[in-house]
Amino acid sequence: MIQLPLLNVRDLTVEFSTRRGIVRAVRNIDISIGKGETLGIVGESGSGKSVTSYAVMRILDRAGQIAGGSIHFAGLDLRAASERQMVDLRGREMSMIFQNPRAALNPIRRIGHQIEDVLRQHAQAGSADAREKAIEALRDVRISRPEERYSAYPFELSGGMCQRVVIALALACRPKLLIADEPTTGLDVTTQKAVMDLILELTRARGMSTILITHDLGLAATYCSRVVVMEKGEVVETASAAEIFAAPRHAYTRKLMRATPRPGIGLRDLLPDENRAGEALPASAPGAPLLTVSALVKEYPRAEAGLFSRFMKPDAAGAQPFRAVDGIGFDIKRGESLGLVGESGCGKSTTSMMLMRLIDPTAGSIIFDGEDIGSIPARDFARHPMRKRIQMVFQDPTDSLNPRYSAARAIADPLLRLGACEPRTLRARVEELASLVGLPGDLLDRFPHQLSGGQKARVGIARAIALNPSLVVLDEPTAALDVSVQALVLNLLADLKAALGMSYLFVSHDLHVVRLICDRVIVMRAGRIIEQGRAADVLDHPKADYTKELIAALPHPPAQPAAR
């Protein structure tokens, strides 16, 4: 007897009506998943991987519709199913979990009630036993003291805990299929691992099929038996995980795999062959300390709330001042690239803001090239001659560009303000900077919303280096980028550093990336430095338990075939 796949997607096309007309987000794709199977769908942003899953669940938003093909679930034609039938299927037969677990839960409803809602909707529980069953569902996802948590609101739980609740919600009715859409994006690595392990364990124990949608090849490789690679709305390759990593057939798959940072490779190895510049990366030779930080502290008092501000930000009064950075000290040498890593809330961003002199430290000193810039108030620093020597590249390239400035205007801004340039030569200098960061000249008159993520990142970098700074703080500069773009940007940064002789402070949560680009690394936790040392030493032979834990949690893609 031939075993029918649980889910069979054939020739699926999804269209969105936008103001530029009909856009096909997904084109003629075939995907199937058998019972008990774990399938990974991998692709970069815009590849249509999420749209596919929404189409399967039939929860596309108003503008989107299934234009062609078929979706069969357990033999039922989902395209033809009534909304009524779909409501019954969703949550009971097939469930979905999303990224950003905190946002995925109703913020003002007790989590227990949210689980009950699902149970009762699908008649899995009545009013008598709903509470009991909800608590049981919470217990299933390893939430300790589930009776207490039953009455908790999402904001009272950590991100990882929220994701467990979302999983409990999805699995409460014991569905046959679970679609996990980027379930761990935005979570810290240690949490990420715990959540993934939990999903895998539960679905295996219940014999469920799972679709894991992710941009992270490493994650897919670690957890999936079969992988579908999507690019621009099409499936480019489908194969077993082992197969796809051992012998990727499609060029895109190869490019993707190559661009994924992993241990044991160099920066240049991330690039596809055709982009690969001939010259090897020059080794950095750190000189004398450029910046010395000692006993740096930042405290935040809690602000009082006035009548006026109430509508915007209802916050509490009278709490203890909060120490975001708690007496740290380190230095950055000339030409050195220092990594600053840690999980969210560890104080790494606050530290970089203080170094940038955008906020004032509570205590401690920041000696830059012999001068204590920490004692200059942040508001006066804009006019200080040191200003041009410390610049920054921001995490979100979209947010960091004024929507009303063209690319050229954005790059020219520091040149105009800090007067490094004659007005006549301004355009030439902007074009020079653009070519330096690999931004085509014809894009210079475009506005941010007309540029791609990678292009915006390049504009941000061009702006940061416009004044030939000595130190550039890079705040997660590639976190919002796809891996293939990240590979290019990382290489660009390394080249620029070598060419212009700058020092970098590289703030990141991604240990793989830090290993590739940094000479030294500092590990922070709760405002303190846990460990610091040469990047290779710290990452290969961590001393602190916390560092060990971080490294252990990293997904490890299987060994790569040698670069051809």
Binding site: M57, I59, D61, R62, M86, V87, D88, L89, R90, G91, R92, S95, M96, F98, N100, A103, A104, L105, N106, P107, I108, R109, D117, V118, Q121, H122, Y153, F155, E156, V166, L169, A170, E304, A305, G306, L307, R310, F311, P314, D315, A316, A317
Partner: protein, 337 residues
Amino acid sequence: MLKILIGRILTTIPALIGVVVVSFLLTRVLPGDTAAYFAGPAATPQAIEEVRKKLGLDRPLPEQFASYVRDLSHGNLGQSLTTGQPVLSDIKARLPASAELTLFGLVLSLLIAVPLGIVAAVRQGSMIDHACRAIVTAGVSLPVFFTGLLLVYVFYFILQISPAPLGRLDVFASAPAEITGFYLLDSLLARDGATFRASFSQLLLPGVTLAIFALAPIARITRASMLSVLSMDFVRTARASGLSRRKVIMTYAFRNALLPVVTTLGMVFSFLLGANVLVEKVFAWPGIGSYAVEALIASDFAPVQGFVLAMAILYIVLNLLIDLSYRLIDPRMRASS
């Protein structure tokens, strides 16, 4: 909880001081001479000066202000020239009328506008959406006094289905025993169905007039807030968990959309209290708004100041209530206390 309440009240003190000072100054620059009014139609200039001295209006402004504040602290809001009564008792007598009318209008408006807003959001871009928008906008585009007169004309004069626009009760009916000052409630409490019906029918037209005016802001914010909530992740989660459409919209989306609606309600309420001024004039409603307007036209300081002060206090109380309802709606607020 109490501490927060006190804290909130404390933060409103500067605004209260501002209101007292501004209303004092504003009424002092009003044209019209109180002394001349008191001195009577045929007074000589000396007689007017004498009265001025007697009323203390010849003293420098800061001194007058000090005595005004002194009186205030004793709960003395002065005397109204137009009604001849102490302002405090006037306001006490008239506030319930205004409050009842405004609340009635607000509730009526809510009952219509909120469902409209929800439907418009759920069916965004449909003809229903456009129709809702056109209707509520038309409502807010008419001056309230015009709407009021039109309603009187149609429902009282032409169709004869509405009682005479003669205030809160028919001339020949008597007010229910005062408990809350709200005739609807009081007559219910007294189990007096006839008075309830009578006061309800009087309340209907002015209430509708106000409600029409309040439709737009409420429907608009409901729609906007629903739209933004509907696009949130948790709504998608709810849909993906197979919750029924009704459950998703009402329990998940709407309750979350309520917060901005409640905020707007506060503003709409104080806005309506202002619009009330005109509606009360049209319907001979013995409320605080018409009282203030007449006083203002007559350059009668004390009632204007008293009215403004009463409204400021009402506004502050209202905001406290909104704060409290925030806490009811959103557990995050409770937690931050």
